[in-house]
Symmetry: C2
Subunit: 331 residues, 2 copies
């Protein structure tokens, strides 16, 4: 029921996924979902009478047991579904997931992770990109552990952890960046210090840690610039006959470039630190994006991503919360 | 003396500027500058025995009267130079400028502004992009006034002011974004509320206000993505003969696109709120970037930008500091 084009785009995206062999259960207001279903759809529905709006505070999820995201998280917690996809309020998705499913051992604060392509061909894992806008240093330590675990799970043997900053010199960064550095250094991971956006895209680190506000600004800026360049280029090309011929000849090269850089094609971001795959999809998701988000959830289920993250968390040098909080067990 | 390629790139950039008819006085260690000068250079030098490093705290500028940026700011304050360009520590440039020159009436906190092209053909003025990493709501109100004044000065009759955020819904933003909204609304400017990066690039607002940390991350991310796309496209194109022919045919269109989007060609960002033009250039500036930075300073001098900003500040509905601080004079 969540997102700008719900429920139509969600139902259509789910239909596309099911046709590709990826089972989906719809959760929402049956009175609105039923009329959108066709007789040959294999889309079971679970009724939820309530919806949490995009503009509502995430904490309202606590008292709204009938909201679609709460009912969906309950389906996962009860073992009737293997994962959760939501295009709705991402904070409410976090709250509902923790309420129904709890958190993995050693995780102080779950976080949303997304991956971006790097110029050196590697992958940049960003944590957090949305749940915790006002993070503290301990939260950032938790995000570093989750990012480390995700990168290890995806085959990076010893991930380098960077902290998003506006400069790598000692005097740079804001208060949070300066406070978080000793916490991250104490985790026993390969923490390389503060990293600027360009260095991160060039491959200086594998995991880029930030508060959810700044991380979200970074990915939204990257999306906006790619969109602007694409549209700008299209206009310029259409204004010149010679350039049009050139564009036709460059078509394949440009297409593969866009594919590689369009991380929205992945469908969404993963909520890490909860005991089942949860995909936070874009609020603007159309049917194709919803299909991709369902695909990402199924990938995480099939790859046993949560088990692997749990193992990597257990194997990380200091995952007990005492160390993260800088208490007596910390180095 | 500041920046990654000083003093060589700075001297060469100054030489290029002088050849274009833009006078420059060099300020720095004469023992290092003199050997770089040629007999036909028209580049007077003012000696400064000390340099503030990129990694030093901006506040050290207070006690380092012999640092090059301090001596250069003193030259401006004494009326022997009309403006200041620095590729060095931007925080130290701010501190030195305020120490020597003071602040304009009604300005609580000077800020660094830069302009980006928008998709609708307009200009997006961003304030702050670097001086105040840990801004509070009052600082953001000061940045809004300065951005308003700059946009008016550059010919935008009634600038729409947006506040950089990760979402425009009421529950979104971090604590600072939520606290700053009533302060910005009370200024009597055309404050349109929180704005996401994509909406800003599309033209939703003329001035985008943020703390210096987030603003700096935004511009550095935009730069990084443009750099990545350019290099990525070049590699792909070189891998295919047909695409190479296409690229040759598209050359002019691509070139004009890059020109339009390469805001580094402007040479730097303006420090607003001090009584003379101060250009904060990129630490990575090469000679061409230094030349462009000198050009920007001369543009600001010739256009009497500071006078215009002062007039616009005086004409803004509530520029007295009582109103900005929410005191008894506030609406």
């Amino acid at each position: 029921m969540g997102g700008d084009h719900a429920p139509e785009a969600v139902v259509e995206g789910a239909r596309l996924a099911v046709r590709e062999g990826l089972p989906v259960v719809l959760v929402g207001d049956e009175a609105r979902l039923r009329p959108l279903l066709r007789s040959d759809d294999d889309l079971p529905c679970v009724h939820a009478p309530d919806v949490i709006g995009m503009g509502e505070k995430p904490s309202v999820a606590r008292s709204r047991a009938g909201a679609s995201v709460r009912v969906a998280a309950d389906e996962v917690a009860a073992g009737r579904c293997a994962g959760l996809v939501s295009c709705g309020n991402s904070g409410a998705t976090l709250v509902a997931s923790i309420l129904s499913m709890g958190k993995l051992d050693g995780v102080d604060r779950p976080a949303i992770a997304t991956s971006l392509p790097r110029l050196d061909g590697g992958t940049l894992y960003m944590v957090d990109v949305g749940t915790t806008a006002d993070a503290n240093a301990r939260h950032l330590a938790s995000f570093a552990l989750l990012g480390h675990a995700l990168a290890v799970t995806e085959g990076v043997p010893s991930p380098r952890i960077g902290l998003l900053s506006n400069g790598s010199e000692p005097g740079k960064g804001n208060r949070l960046v300066r406070q978080a550095q000793p916490e991250l250094a104490a985790l026993g991971l390969d923490f390389i210090g503060p990293v600027e956006p360009n260095a991160a895209f060039e491959g200086r680190c594998d995991v880029l840690v930030s508060d959810g506000f700044t991380g979200n600004i970074l990915i939204k800026t990257a999306e906006a610039v790619i969109g602007m360049l694409t549209r700008h280029a299209r206009r310029r090309v259409m204004a010149s006959k010679r350039a049009r011929v050139g564009a036709w000849l460059m078509r394949d090269a440009l297409h593969s470039l866009r594919e590689e850089l369009d991380w929205r094609a992945r469908g969404g971001a993963l909520l890490l630190g909860v005991p089942a795959p949860v995909v936070v999809a874009h609020g603007r998701s159309d049917a194709d994006a919803v299909r991709a988000a369902v695909g990402l959830a199924h990938y995480a289920i099939d790859a046993r991503l949560v088990d692997a993250v749990e193992t990597a968390l257990g194997a990380a040098p200091s995952t007990d919360r005492v160390a993260v909080s800088g208490g007596p067990g910390a180095p």
